[in-house]
């Protein structure tokens, strides 16, 4: 099952984490207490130019030095410290969450059109594939992911999510079905600015994972959602597809639907399906993806998982259930159910 929710303020007006915590707890029937998490954009304005790396250490004394060294090799740690946590009766602190504010040294990848992003991606993949007691769970600028094994309220209180402020939030209430629940397997999944929450299962995970590996992305979290974050990064950031087309590549129309399209549409959709065949995601899914300038929700093309969108003034809401949106915003002005495979996209103004 799983419950997902995202809220974005187009005018960048900040919200604290109180309401999303309530909305997520509203969907506790969709979770199992084995994983919950939040992503918040706009939470580190004082370090807005640095990449905020959130890292789970198994043990700070044993595992941290190697990460410090690697970061030192690729750039400069501007600031760092433990992510404050507050003991909860039913939440076992398996990992020590740490954050680095990191500035990569551009000249070390001068051949790349986006050297900073590529350095950070490289560093994240290195740390996460080394299996040396460190796991990077988020790596964007002025944003962060906070997650753990537990119910949404416990995880929120563990990090005091209500003390963070941001203009865009994602939340996830996990019910793991195919792999055991663990801290790294909780959502959101993140790479650079991209964060993903997901309800369902990507049955094409094997194909997608091999495809993405050939571009240097390595899946390490033992769960399918991770691959979605990397696919979106590849298609949108690297291949520069507009978000709408990226979703069309991941959840394309059926061939019999393409057959009855006009010539231009037919050519475009045929080309997309042929080019991105191994990126096509099969199985039931409802997904919300965000980056610093937009939030987007979509489902699989035969709609095997629920997704509801709502609007109120400058705010866009996307969730598994209407009631969760109404819990955050009782006076929501418009509620609708997006069509299967068709994205709902909201963009930050300016």
């Amino acid at each position: 099952m799983c419950g997902i929710i995202g809220v974005m303020d187009r005018g960048r007006k900040e919200m604290d984490g109180t309401q999303i915590r309530r909305a997520l707890a509203q969907m506790n029937e969709r979770g199992s207490g084995e994983g919950a998490g939040y992503a918040v954009y706009g939470c580190y304005p004082e370090y807005r130019d640095c990449y905020a790396l959130h890292v789970f250490f198994d043990n700070i004394h044993e595992n941290k030095q190697a990460v410090d060294d690697l970061l030192g090799q690729w750039g400069r740690i501007v600031h760092e410290g433990q992510i404050p946590t507050y003991d909860q009766p039913n939440l076992r602190k398996i990992h020590a969450p740490w954050r680095y504010f990191f500035k990569p040294e551009k000249s070390l990848m001068s051949w790349s059109p986006s050297p900073e992003d590529d350095i950070v991606t490289h560093v994240v993949m290195r740390i996460n594939t080394d299996h040396r007691g460190a796991l990077v769970i988020s790596s964007g600028k002025n944003m962060g992911v906070f997650k753990a094994s537990g119910w949404p309220e416990e995880v929120a209180d563990f990090y005091r999510i209500q003390d963070y402020r941001g203009y865009l939030w994602l939340g996830h209430n996990r019910y793991p079905t195919n792999t055991p629940g663990w801290w790294g397997g909780a959502h959101p999944f993140n790479l650079l600015g991209w964060s993903v929450v997901h309800n369902g299962e990507i049955t094409s995970y094997g194909t997608n994972q091999r495809y993405i590996q050939s571009y240097g992305y390595h899946c390490t979290m033992f769960t399918d959602t991770e691959v979605v974050a990397y696919l979106i990064d590849l298609l949108v950031r690297k291949h520069r597809l507009p978000e709408e087309l990226a979703v069309r590549a991941l959840a394309p129309p059926f061939w019999d639907e393409i057959d009855v399209m006009g010539e231009r549409e037919r050519k475009l959709n045929t080309a997309l399906r042929l080019t991105y065949g191994p990126a096509l995601m099969n199985g039931p899914f409802a997904i919300v993806v965000a980056n610093p300038s937009m939030m987007m929700g979509f489902t699989d093309r035969i709609k095997l998982r629920p997704l509801v969108a709502g609007e109120c003034g400058d705010r866009l809401y996307i969730s598994s259930e209407e009631a969760a949106i109404r819990r955050m915003e009782p006076s929501v002005e418009r509620i609708w159910m997006p069509r299967a495979g068709e994205p709902v996209i909201g963009r930050v103004n300016g």
Partner: protein
């Protein structure tokens, strides 16, 4: 027979469901029904699942708000009037009684329903009426005022679905209508493109006899939502039913 003869004592009870979990809420509903009230009004309902599940008798629930999934599952007899939208699968495996939704509903409305009626004023999501079934005197009815999304009446084994498409546009514009249907009938007001029919579904003639068959249901729908029943009935309907009683016989058996 379990439950009570609701209405014998009459009266109305109001329950404020704000911040109440569904177990507590359902206990209160059951205890009110057992006490013999004829009407229970639930205010500030927000996302509580399983309301009225397995409830018997003739009690009437007025639900103000947005109930959670599986409203009226296994329900046998009562009436639920919802003033708001419903989530997934209202009327799931419902046995008898009625659900009237003054709003829209999510996916899998009337899932596996085996008796009674579900009336939705506005739209429904995907897989409306999936695997509805009938047996002897039990025959469920799902009626939708607005539009229905893809896979309407999937694996349908019995009963009746009517989609009116009120409010402009075709009533159903998405694929897979009656995929794997092997019993029951789907009536859609207005034309339906052939390519939207699912495997095993077939268009059938709609004439005076069929109009007469659906007339009482259409009138009932119209009366619940203050509509002109005659105008609604006068439209052209597309009738869809099973091409055979065993659409997948050759897939699973050798004969």
């Amino acid at each position: 027979m379990g439950g009570t003869m609701g209405g014998t004592m009459g009266g109305t009870i109001r329950i404020d469901a704000a911040e109440m979990d569904y177990t507590t809420l359902n206990r209160k509903i059951r205890s009110a029904a057992a006490g013999g009230v004829s009407e229970v009004i639930l205010d500030h309902v927000l996302g509580q699942r399983f309301i009225a599940d397995g409830l018997r008798g003739t009690v009437r629930l007025i639900i103000n708000g947005v109930p959670g999934g599986d409203l009226g599952m296994f329900m046998s007899g009562p009436t639920c009037i919802v003033h708001g939208n419903a989530d997934h699968a209202p009327g799931n495996t419902m046995d008898g009684g009625m659900i009237v939704i003054h709003g829209s509903a999510g996916d899998a409305v009337a899932h596996s329903m085996r008796g009674g009626k579900v009336l939705v004023r506005d739209d429904i999501g995907y897989r409306g009426g999936i695997h509805m079934k009938e047996y002897q005197e039990k025959s469920p009815v799902l009626m939708v005022g607005g539009n229905a999304r893809a896979y309407l009446g999937e694996y349908m084994a019995g009963g009746l679905i009517i989609v009116f498409g009120i409010g402009g546009g075709a009533a159903v514009t998405e694929r897979g209508i009656g995929s794997g249907i092997h019993g029951g009938e789907i009536y859609i007001r207005g034309p339906v493109e052939d390519r939207l029919l699912g495997v095993g579904a077939k268009k059938k003639p709609f004439g005076a006899a069929e109009r007469k068959r659906i007339a009482p249901f259409v009138q009932e729908f119209a009366s619940h939502f203050d509509m002109d029943g005659k105008a609604l009935l006068d439209g052209d309907y597309t009738r869809i039913g099973p091409a055979s009683a065993r659409p997948f016989a050759s897939k699973y058996t050798w004969e």
